[in-house]
């Protein structure tokens, strides 16, 4: 079996999540060019992701949103500086998004 998916307790930077945790992407605080690339690669707002490996690179699996959590999405490796700027939060019960879970100020708060 795949390591059991653990839901995230709160909004954290991708680099601070634990391997095996599943959550949704809340915000991309990266440089606009990097953010655009990550978004196009599937790491977009509300994307369901599973953290596969932490460190450098941080590896995440972008999952399909309908129950298939293995080999149905894509696996993305991010250098640690990029992973620090991606915020992810717990999967909301209604599956509609994570806006409520994002901290006010989002990226600006993170950079302080």
């Amino acid at each position: 079996m795949v390591r059991a998916s653990t839901p995230l307790p709160a909004t954290v930077a991708l680099a601070d999540a634990n391997p095996g945790q599943t959550g949704v992407v809340c915000q991309l605080c990266n440089d606009p060019r990097d953010a655009a690339l990550l978004r196009a690669m599937g790491l977009r707002h509300n994307a369901l992701v599973r953290v596969c490996r932490l460190g450098d690179p941080c590896i995440v699996e972008v999952l399909a949103r309908d129950g298939c959590t293995a080999s149905c999405g894509s696996r993305i490796g991010l250098a640690r500086p990029l992973a620090r700027q991606v915020r992810m939060g717990p999967v909301p019960p209604n599956g509609l998004g994570c806006d409520a879970a994002c901290p006010p100020g989002g990226c600006a708060t993170d950079r302080k």
Binding site: V2, C68, S71
Partner: protein
Amino acid sequence: MSDGCDRCGSHSSSVALTSSVATTASTTTRPATGPGQDPTGIIRVALVGNPNTGKTTLFNRLCGLRHKTSNFPGTTQEARVGEVKVRGSNLASLLSADASIHLIDLPGIYSLQLDQSEAEVCREVLAGNLSPRGEKLGAPDAVCVVVDAANLLRNLPLVGEVLAQRLPTVVAINMIDLARRHGVRIDTRAMEEHLGCRVTLVSARSGEGIDTLPAILASATIANRTPPGEREALEAWADDVHAACVVHGQAMSADASNPQPSTNSTSKPAASARASQLTDRLDAVLTHKLWGGVIFAAVMALLFLVIFKIAQYPMDWIDSIFGLLGGWVHDLIPPGVLRDLLSEGVVKGIGATVIFVPQICLLFFLISLLEDTGYLARAAFVMDRLLRPFGLPGHSFVPLLGSHACALPGIMATRAIPDRRDRLATILVAPFMTCSARIPVYVLVTTILFRDRPAMAALAFVGCYVVGILAGLFSALIVRRTILRGTSRPMVLELPTYKLPSVRTALLTTYDRGLMFIKNAGTNILAICVVLWWLGAFPRVGPPDASIELRQKVAQLSTDQLSIGADQARAADREAMTAQMVDLAAQADRLEASNAKAQSFAGRLGHMIEPVFRPLGYDWQLCVGVVTSFAAREVFVSTMAVMVTGSDDAEDQTVLEQIQTAKRSDGVTNIFTPATSWSLLVFYVLAMQCLPTLVVTAKEAGGVRWAVLQLAWMSGLAYFAAWGVHALVLALNGS
């Protein structure tokens, strides 16, 4: 909801397909000959898709060897244009008799909107402003968007962007066989309704759906629906399409209409779960700080061991074949300029090029296999940690490692580097890596320096490699902080699924690269060799006095031998005379060759540039070696052998000894003093003594100015480093 695979049969006819699309989406069906067909009957179809969607495999499956590789003018982006084989009556009924489909393989992109050279090329091609070199300018007649069946959600925004271009479009959902195994089901009819264009299921690996694809492309229509242009709305549109058309595993039977995100692992197909677990474990090891590096070093060592060991056989065969060919030309054509040109210039020139083809082909074959397994993407992260401080990305490692065999394939391999500045920096420093052409020079000079001390010679040899690598990294650092200044973007890379590599794809890649090397570099190397031959062979001069005297002695001995006759008692004298004649004739040959070289344009050039290289300790003879080896470094050794001894067999121990003890014009000082030898070694480690590399740099970097910069930087660095080393050794050693 119907399973996509169930629809394969119903879409086997392009006619049925066209009517289906027209009915469901009210699209504009092209007439039988197609408005996109130009007067030549060619339908140009652009192949667009995300990376790792099997786009290239699909291209290879459709076109096979019927393709050519060029580039997009003004860019470094590779362009492959292939001709699709027209099969069956379906396509014949849609096309005119002489029609064909030209497939243009565009770079893999995640979005048309990205600020990347690949995306810019795709935008320009779809807008009709750019075409592969040699192709007609104008928008393609149709677009085929290749998407990954198991990863549709990520792929759909690109589909939307392409549909917004208002070009006849077909969506080819690739790797459907793999997706089915993971429980993915796609309703193509529903998708056609949502997209307003034809959707077809294919598997480029197994060949499923390939036979009907050309007919579908020929009947492509402009979608009657335009997805939203704004990114957020486009992503919401992609969500809607995905929710309506794709179902994964058991979720469909549970509630296909409510695609809620679920983290319940019990709904996963067991095979997918095992695959994911295995992938996690492999990723953890292969990208590990320590083990990742160890495994990568082992893989690369094995790769190059295989290249050097296996490629040596065909290289020897090629060498023998061209040797025979040169001899055959020499025997067949009467003595004169034409014979020398063909045997010394043309045959040797072609042979010098073709001999590298086995190494290049083997390198690309093995790298293609490795890439196909999904390993190289992981390895790029391992190397990124080491190279990033020098301003180079992890992608640079394979090109730099490849440059240790030959800089030409190494530079060609930089095409895999996504960022332009990273790619240019890698191209500029790749020739610092010790290529196989430097080895004969290293062998000669280290042997001279450390005669009877093989351990020291080996240490110096390894030192040359290290100095080359350090010089490359140092240069990369300088380049990234000056002319290619800019923050290096942190690495982000899709990690493809681990799988068995496709030998077919690897063979086609190898064929492609090998052919490109022969076409691009071969012609230039040939021209250079002919020019060098001319510089070394002209003007023709008569034999020197010493040689004439030797020939006269030979003639006298021959006369004496005849006078002895067949007297059995003097058989020993006759044999001694014969040996003496052979020896004298060989001495005369060497003197004439040496004199011819000294009086040639190359020799005169050596005298002319001697003042420039005097601070490095080089006399005019070494200068000739430096000049002639500008085309290829290994030429230095044979040039020195000819200059000093008149024989070009530098492996002959006597010749090596003669080179080691050869004197300068003063008749007293050795050409190869310790200071000069060290200086020469450093010069050849660092200098840009390879014209074909400069030609390839200009081609790959997109301008002659990069080649000029490379030449100036490397030559300058080599000159001053050699100067410093010469002065240092003189100060320490006194000679």
